[in-house]
Subunit: 366 residues, 2 copies
């Protein structure tokens, strides 16, 4: 990955943090860092942007206590490691950084949670993204199929134009971990909307049934709870190519959350909701009404499902009439269904009947 | 996917099964099907081919009892479903087939295990592969990076040439679920060996460090326990392009099994070992000796690890001196290590030091 202004800004922001700690030490004060409190009570649903954000409560990480001092020391080591990576055009997984810290002596992490958390803290303080620090997760990127041409700047800095339908095999284009402008540019696109799909089986079904061509759609595989790069990729397509987004997932409380995190953000990434969330995304996954209307094969809700549905009843992301009704109905019938359950009516039912009906209802297709 | 001689043969073999059942009924006999016993005791390590195979014990599935009759009925429905798919150039996930059976009345499956098992039974009886029946798993294909040009016949029958280094983004070429000759042909390849890698983080590390270019390697991501298509892809590359294969995995008993299943086959797919297994594959994953020699960060073996190591001591796939020594040593030191633990010495240690040392030792590079 090549460096860009975003990486330069990241270095500046990180240097600023180190500078502040240095200044405090220089003035004979015990150094400390101020960061927003990362507790559930400090996360609020912002009605204006329709996404989740951190509130105004902050906490201080002071070197007065051993634990705080150790965290500050780790922060300093981490700043240096990130600067080195940016200088050398390298990147690292969060797991590798954890092992790299073996060489940091007293600042060594004792569990991966600690290093992941510190990476998130730095995102919050600097308002940069982990990707700007050259830190990436283990997760695989998802796949894309449809008539969009992207330009990817590859590891050697070479620009490659790839049409996500004509230049790839049937498994589609693999989304890289960094999808910011210096890595991915959208060159050309002939599509009416994006359909984001939970399971690989359903992605392959739509690809085999040529749903991308017949319905002028971009098909994106979410792979369960979507990775940050997948959410950001969809967000950018939505904003820059003006494509409406719909999510097609299983009909159970966990899949409702997949939709909500794509549309409104997740607690863990509340500081990045404006980068990652697509609040206009429409739900076209399986609903309790679908289970009844289409007489779908179902499984019984288990205790964890029921608990999750009840907790969604107080989740601001599910507060409108549609969700109130569907969550209550699901609790009432006590059943859930997978998206592949539509195969009850044959392999083409989903593309010939179900999706056209749902998409017309939402005016996504005419 | 287009049809080929393999699909024609699959239809013939399936018709033969239906024919036999019909003939038995016509002669006034209670129909039955004979299949190899799929018990662990009927699997043996075949020293000649160095892979796992079924033995000669067989069992009969007779319609005398209700359960047997139901299985025969299901088989007939499934034969028809498969024939239809082949006729219409469609394919189906195993999950979709399970839901399709909703329309089979008395033959409806009550759990996915039943339908998966029946698909495997048909593979064994016909000596065809699930892929010949147009049945595919949910699993995602793995990724490939390196200087090999493949020709993929896409869903529309169009032949596409894709170089897995020059024509793809940094996430590589995605292996489709069917990798047989009518779908994938190897056109051209300039590489000395294949390195199959357990984790996505390490795959991306080797890609970022340009290990494919610098060491003339094809890098394949296994994604944990590899899918059938990944094993078959590697097997074909090994045989047709004469490329040696090495597996680079974590240092724990579960990763030893990933290597063993790639090299010698797995119990679940013992009837397909000759198609899937690459018995000449060399292990270059983390060993107990590596943990000591490179002083790697480790985790303690837990009870399940210890149990797994002990059971590997009687597994014929681990019977040579190398494995005897390494398994005993791991039990003795009581520790395991991840492949990313090599990052202790920096992000380039794996490609600059560890892999060259291991590959030279095994004479894979000179």
């Amino acid at each position: 990955m090549m460096n860009s202004d975003r990486h330069k800004r990241a270095v500046e922001e990180l240097t600023k943090i180190a500078g502040e700690v240095y200044d405090q030490l220089d003035a004979g004060r015990i150094p400390k860092m101020t960061i927003p409190l990362r507790t559930k009570s400090n996360i609020r649903f912002d009605p204006k942007s329709a996404v989740w954000k951190y509130g105004k409560a902050t906490g201080a990480r002071s070197a007065k206590k051993l634990r705080g001092a150790q965290m500050l020391l780790r922060t300093m080591y981490m700043l240096e490691f990130i600067e080195d990576m940016i200088k050398n055009s390298k990147s690292s997984t969060l797991r590798e950084m954890y092992y790299i810290s073996e060489g940091w002596e007293k600042a060594k992490f004792t569990a991966q949670d600690e290093s992941n958390m510190l990476a998130e803290d730095l995102e919050i303080i600097t308002a940069c993204m982990r990707e700007d620090f050259k830190l990436r997760p283990e997760e695989d990127g998802a796949r894309v199929m449809g008539n969009i041409t992207i330009q990817e700047t590859d590891r050697k800095g070479k620009k490659k134009r790839i049409n996500c339908r004509d230049d790839v095999g049937d498994s589609g284009y693999g989304i890289p971990y960094n999808v910011e402008k210096e890595k991915i540019e959208f060159v050309d696109c002939d599509a009416d909307f994006i359909i984001a799909i939970e399971t690989g089986g359903m992605f392959d079904r739509l690809v085999e049934n040529k749903f991308d061509e017949d319905s002028n759609a971009i098909i994106v595989h979410l792979k369960g709870q979507p990775a940050r790069s997948t959410r950001r990729f969809i967000k950018r397509l939505n904003e820059e190519m003006k494509l409406p987004v719909c999510t097609f997932v299983d009909g159970d409380p966990w899949s409702f959350r997949i939709h909500a995190s794509l549309a409104y953000g997740a607690i863990k990434t509340a500081h990045l909701s404006e980068y990652l969330a697509t609040p206009t995304a429409e739900y076209i996954g399986i609903t309790a009404s679908d289970i009844l209307n289409y007489d779908l094969p179902t499984d019984k809700l288990n205790d964890r499902d029921i608990q999750a549905l009840n907790s969604e009843k107080t989740d601001p992301r599910f507060k409108d009439q549609f969700w109130k009704h569907e969550i209550d109905l699901m609790l009432q019938i006590g059943k859930k269904a997978e998206q592949q359950a539509l195969a009850k009516y044959g392999l083409d039912f989903v593309t010939d009947t179900y999706l056209p009906e749902k998409l017309t209802e939402l005016s996504i297709i005419k």
